[in-house]
Symmetry: C2
Subunit: 201 residues, 2 copies
């Protein structure tokens, strides 16, 4: 009944599942809960995604595509080394502002083990390669401090995602402030931190 058209349902379910997996964790989130949140029964969810694992895979795929799209758009027209680095950070922060559960889901996906995470990683792998090449050429050009470019990329990832996901730590360290202004201030801090960390000696 009501014939909503399967693709919309599918998208709603993935969105809610990302929220639930990010917030409660994979094993903490239940199919009942996810299904009810979009107004259907669990068995209907299982019609779209035959197992919980299949649902997770669809979430990883969707999340990978979304972040790849956002970063790709953000990079358009940015040429200098620092402009490009800052554009990526800004894109991720804007995505986190619009979709707060996204970074939490990403972190949970990483926790579930490398096998699953690679489903996400493989989608953004072209960007990873580009980023490593970018960092290496920046080092060759003397614009970025000499170091292992892959490890630098890893450090940048942890700094950005960490500053978006460690809300409890943030509360404990700098006090409770969930406002948008707080997020902006954090972004400025990350940008300054990363800029300084990448600067040549």
């Amino acid at each position: 009944m009501t014939r909503t058209g399967g693709e919309i349902r599918r998208r709603d379910l993935i969105e809610e599942a990302i929220r639930a997996f990010g917030h409660e964790g994979y094993s903490g989130a239940s199919l009942d809960q996810i299904a009810n949140a979009v107004g259907i029964r669990k068995q209907t969810l299982l019609y779209y995604f035959p197992t919980k694992d299949a649902l997770l895979e669809a979430c990883l795929q969707a999340a990978g595509e979304r972040v790849a799209l956002d970063i790709s758009n953000a990079l358009a027209g940015k040429e200098t080394y620092w402009d490009r680095a800052e554009a990526v950070i800004h894109a991720v922060f804007r995505l986190a502002e619009e979709w707060p559960e996204f970074p939490m889901f990403l972190r949970e996906a990483g926790r579930l083990g490398a096998e699953g995470f690679e489903r996400f990683a493989s989608i953004i792998d072209p960007m990873r390669k580009r980023a490593v090449d970018f960092l290496r050429s920046g080092m060759d050009a003397g614009q970025i401090r000499e170091q292992d470019p892959a490890l630098l990329l890893f450090m940048l990832y942890t700094a950005v995602v960490g500053s978006l996901t460690e809300a409890s730590v943030l509360n404990a360290v700098v006090g409770k402030d969930r406002s948008r202004a707080s997020l902006r201030r954090r972004e400025r801090e990350v940008v300054g931190f990363v800029r300084s960390a990448m600067a040549p000696a």
Copy 2:
């Protein structure tokens, strides 16, 4: 029987619970599993910790005390700004080497919400205060780049803990390498990264 003396059991259970919570997540870890791993039945575990939540609280307490002790020892005798910062990083990495599940547990504790995490945070709060004062005085002395000291501390936390917990990302970005040498290289990278990030402009 066998009269092991309750305190040893208690400590074993907490250690195993930290491992399980860190590895499987709070809701993914079961009391059965934790109890069996230390050679007793679940009901005996529940004799020591009446609920799963009580077990978690004991873990947070123990983890807080342990990290406070390690950092405190590491700081002894270190005087210069950078020596102190590096000593803390080194202490955390050494703890992670000896007890790999510890950083994962810490991250999981943060995920469970600010209420629970504060049980941990309150124990290391004196160190937090000292660290903020230390960073501020370093800025006043011109040894550290001017910025919000609390936010800088938060950034340092995310960089260190992130580099210890995002194993899946590390796999995807720099390849699979779980060796001790890999951990050491990562520590050097973190040290170089934050040293550069903290350097005055």
